[in-house]
Symmetry: C2
Subunit: 447 residues, 2 copies
C-alpha cells in the first residue's frame, strides 16, 4: 500500500486522453497536488492508502475546464447593456462605465465574483485580459484557482499605464513577480491589431520569444475590423501580425470570426492557436468562427466565454453546448464538432494553447490534479447512454458538484471553500447600487 | 378585504404585457385557479386576505413558459445517438428504437420524465406530437400540467394506427374525450408534408376549420425536404399546404429553416404561426430559421425545444438563451431578438399560436395562474440591472424555484408536488438498462 493524500472514486473518469476513453468505475490517486495514477476503483483500493477518500457514485470526473478568454472583472457589468450593436454597446455603455468605475477595488471585487462563478461551473483555469492584472493575479493565488493573467498592452493611456512603454515595463515587473509561481502564468495580452501599433508589437514579439510567453490577442473579431484594416494598410490584420513575426505557436488568436482559406492555411502552417468564443460572437452578431474547418486543417482550437458583459456568464458547461450546436450548423454537418471534440476544446486544447500541456487539461499521471466532478443523478441527466454526450448536450452548470485545483478541494458539494459567498454578494450589492444610480443618470442625460 | 386562495409576492413581476413592463415589488392575487389582479405589494396586503401567502423576495414572477413543440416520451432516448447526420440518426437509431420500444408504458414513463423536467425548468404548457397521445393526455391531467396533445396523423401504419382513416378516427375520439377539459387541448398533428398525403390533409383541414383546432406540423425542416418536394411536385411544401387550405391562423409550422421571401409573405398574409426550435435545428445542422425577419413581417413566432433526442433537454430557459443568441447572428444585428421579444416567444406567442391567448401566456386578470418564480439570488445572477435580460442571458434552469399551473403549486422550492421523483428515476433506470443492452447488441451486429 502506498500512502497518498487523496483518492477520488468516480462512476466514470473521462480523462480526455487520445482515443477519448470513458473509464467505468475508475479512481484518481492524488499526492502533493498531482495525479499519481488513474486506475480502476477495485485496484485503487488495494494499491493506495489515502488520507482523504471521496466517493462520487453518480458522477463523471473530468479535467478542470479551461476558459481561454475572459475579462473577469467585467462580471460587475453583467447585463448592464444588452441587445445593442457593438459600437453603441462599447461607446455609450462599456467604455464610459470603465472610465467611470475602473479601480483596483473594482477589479478585485469583479474578479472575485468571476472566480466564484467559474469555480461553481467547473472552470479551474482562466486566461484573462484586463486592467490591474496585478490585483487579479494576487486574488487568483489567494483563491487557489489557476490563472493566466494577461499583461495588457495598448497604444493609448488608461488608468493602468500611460504609454506602450509603460504597459510593457509593468508587464515585465508582473512577469518577474510570478515567474516561478505554480498557479499563475503571465502571457502578453496586446488588446487587438487596431489598438496596438507595430513598434510595441515588435518589442513584445522579441520579449515573448525570449521568455517563451504566449501572446493573447483579439483578432478578426468583426468584418468591420478586417475591412477597415485592409482599407488602411492594404492587408488583413492576421497577415500584418504574421509580417511582424507574431503568428507562431505562442499566439492565441481570439474570436477569428472572419477567416478566408489563406488565413486558415497561415494559422495551420504557423502552429498558432485559435480561441473560439461562440456566445459572445453570437450575442454581438460578430460572425461565425469556422471551427470544424480549423480543426480539419490541424489548427488547435480552445474555448472561451469572453467577458460577462457580452455573454452574460462565465459558464464553460453552457459554452461547450453552444460551441457544439453552432459548430454543426456552421459546418452544415450534424457530425461536426462532436461531444468529445468539444470537451477537448474546453480542456486539453486550452492547456496546449496556453503552454500548460504538461501541467493541466487532462487526467494523466504527473499533471496537477485539476478535476471537476459532474453529478449525473438529477432527472435532467436521465437516462445515461453516453456520458460525454450528456456533459455537452444535457448538463448545465448546476451539475458541477466538486472542483479541485492542484489537488485542493475548492468547491465541495457546490460550496466554495476559499471564497466567502455571502461577503461577495454584499460587495456586489454595493457596486450594483452605485452603478445603477450612475446608469440612470446617464440615461436621463441622453434623453 | 377580499378573501382569495393565494397571494404571491415577488421582487419583480414580469407580466409579458404590451410595453414589456417590469413591475417592482408587485404581487399576484389568485382565486379559483385564475389571476384576480396583479398589483403593488403594498396595495395587495390591504386589499386581499389570502389563505396562502408566499413571499419571493429575490425572485421574478413570470408567466409559465410554453414549449410549443415537443415529443415528450422521447426523453427516454436522451443522448442515445448524437453527432450523427439526420438520416443516419433517424434510420439507424431513432426509428429502429421506436419500432423496438414503442408501447403505452414507454410513452407513459417517458412523458412522466419529460413533465418532471419541464416543470423543473419553468414550462407550464407543452405542445406534444407522439404515439399514444391518450396516455400522455391522461398523465398530463393527473400531473396538472397544461398540455396540447397532438392528434397524430401519418400515411403509413404504426403501432398507434394502421391507416390515415384510423389515425383520424382515433384523433376524433380523443378530441371528444377532452373537449371540455380545462388543462388539455387536442390540436391535429399531421407529422410532415412528406409523410401525409393530400387526401387525409384535406379531410383534416375541414375538421380543423369546423372544430377550430390548431394544426401542428413539421414544415421546411431541412433543405433536403424542400428540394425533394420541388423535384416531385414542382412546388414547395408550404405552397402545397396553402393550396390545400391549411396555411391559416390554425397552422403551427414547426422548424421553418428554409424560407424564401415568398414563403414569409405567405405566412404573414395567412396569419399562420411559426414554431422556432433553435437547438434542434443547430444540432441536426438543419439550417437557420430567420426569426427576426418573420417578426418584422408580422408573423407570430413561438419557441419549442423539439424532442429530447435532438436537443438534448426540454429546458425553455436554455432555449430562450440560444434563440436570442442565434437570432442576432442570423440577422447580422446585435439588436435583433432582444430579451423581451425572446421572452414573448416563450410565453404569449406560444399561447397565441395554440389558441390559448385568453387562457395563459401572460400574467393578466382572468387568465389562469400559470406562473414561474425565477430566483435571482445566486451569485451567477449578480449584479442585476435588467431582470428580463438576466432571464434570457444569465439564468439557467436551476434558477426556477416554484411553478404554478392554474393556481396549483406544482413545483415548490424545486420539489415536484404531483410527481414522485424517486419513482420516476427508478423506472427510467430500468428503461436505461433495457435500451442500453439492445443498443449494444445492435452496435455489435453492425460491426
Amino acid at each position: 500500500m502506498q500512502n497518498i493524500d487523496t483518492l477520488i472514486h468516480g462512476r466514470w473518469v473521462i480523462p480526455v486522453t487520445p482515443g477519448d476513453p470513458v473509464l467505468d468505475h475508475h479512481s484518481i490517486a492524488i499526492h502533493d497536488g498531482r495525479i499519481v495514477e488513474v486506475l480502476p476503483t477495485v485496484d485503487a483500493r488495494k494499491r493506495y492508502n489515502a488520507q482523504v477518500e471521496n466517493h462520487y457514485p453518480h458522477h463523471a470526473l473530468i479535467p478542470g475546464l479551461i476558459n481561454a478568454h475572459t475579462h473577469a472583472a467585467m462580471s460587475l457589468f453583467r447585463g448592464m447593456a444588452d441587445d445593442l450593436p457593438l459600437m453603441d454597446w462599447l461607446s455609450n455603455h462599456i467604455w464610459p462605465a470603465e472610465t467611470r468605475w475602473m479601480s483596483e477595488e473594482f477589479v478585485h471585487d469583479g474578479s472575485e465574483l468571476a472566480m466564484a462563478e467559474m469555480l461553481r461551473s467547473g472552470t479551474t483555469c482562466f486566461n484573462d485580459m484586463y486592467f490591474f492584472p496585478d490585483v487579479t493575479a494576487r486574488l487568483a493565488r489567494k483563491v487557489g484557482i489557476r490563472a493566466c493573467i494577461g499583461l495588457i498592452v495598448l497604444d493609448f493611456p488608461t488608468i493602468w499605464a500611460s504609454s506602450a512603454d509603460e504597459y510593457i515595463d509593468k508587464a515585465l515587473q508582473l512577469r518577474d513577480q510570478y515567474r516561478s509561481d505554480a498557479l499563475i502564468r503571465t502571457p502578453f495580452a496586446p488588446h487587438a491589431p487596431y489598438t496596438v501599433s507595430d513598434a510595441p508589437l515588435e518589442k513584445l514579439r522579441v520579449l515573448a520569444d525570449e521568455m517563451d510567453l504566449p501572446v493573447h490577442m483579439h483578432i478578426h473579431e468583426t468584418a468591420h475590423e478586417v475591412n477597415e484594416a485592409v482599407k488602411l494598410t492594404g492587408i488583413r490584420p492576421l497577415q500584418r501580425l504574421a509580417n511582424l513575426g507574431l503568428v507562431s505557436p505562442n499566439l492565441l488568436a481570439v474570436h477569428m470570426t472572419q477567416l478566408n482559406d489563406d488565413d486558415i492555411a497561415l494559422l495551420a502552417r504557423s502552429g498558432a492557436h485559435v480561441v473560439h468564443c461562440p456566445e459572445s460572437n453570437l450575442k454581438l452578431a460578430s460572425g461565425y468562427c469556422p471551427v470544424q474547418k480549423l480543426l480539419d486543417a490541424g489548427v488547435n482550437v480552445a474555448l472561451g466565454t469572453d467577458g460577462t458583459a457580452s455573454n452574460n456568464d462565465l459558464n464553460m458547461i453552457g459554452e461547450m453546448n453552444t460551441a457544439a450546436l453552432i459548430g454543426k450548423a456552421v459546418a452544415s454537418n450534424a457530425s461536426a464538432l462532436n461531444a468529445s471534440q468539444t470537451l477537448r476544446m474546453a480542456t486539453i486544447n486550452g492547456a496546449r494553447a496556453l503552454g500548460l500541456e504538461t501541467v493541466t487539461g487532462s487526467l494523466e499521471k504527473n499533471k496537477f490534479a485539476d478535476i471537476v466532478a459532474i453529478d449525473f443523478s438529477a432527472l435532467e441527466m436521465q437516462p445515461v447512454y453516453h456520458p460525454v454526450s450528456h456533459l455537452v448536450y444535457s448538463a448545465s452548470r448546476e451539475q458541477v458538484s466538486d472542483v479541485w485545483v492542484a489537488g485542493k478541494h475548492l468547491l465541495k458539494e457546490r460550496a466554495l471553500t476559499t471564497l466567502d459567498e455571502q461577503k461577495i454578494l454584499q460587495k456586489v450589492r454595493v457596486w450594483n447600487e452605485k452603478i445603477t444610480r450612475q446608469e440612470t443618470e446617464n440615461a436621463n442625460e441622453r434623453k
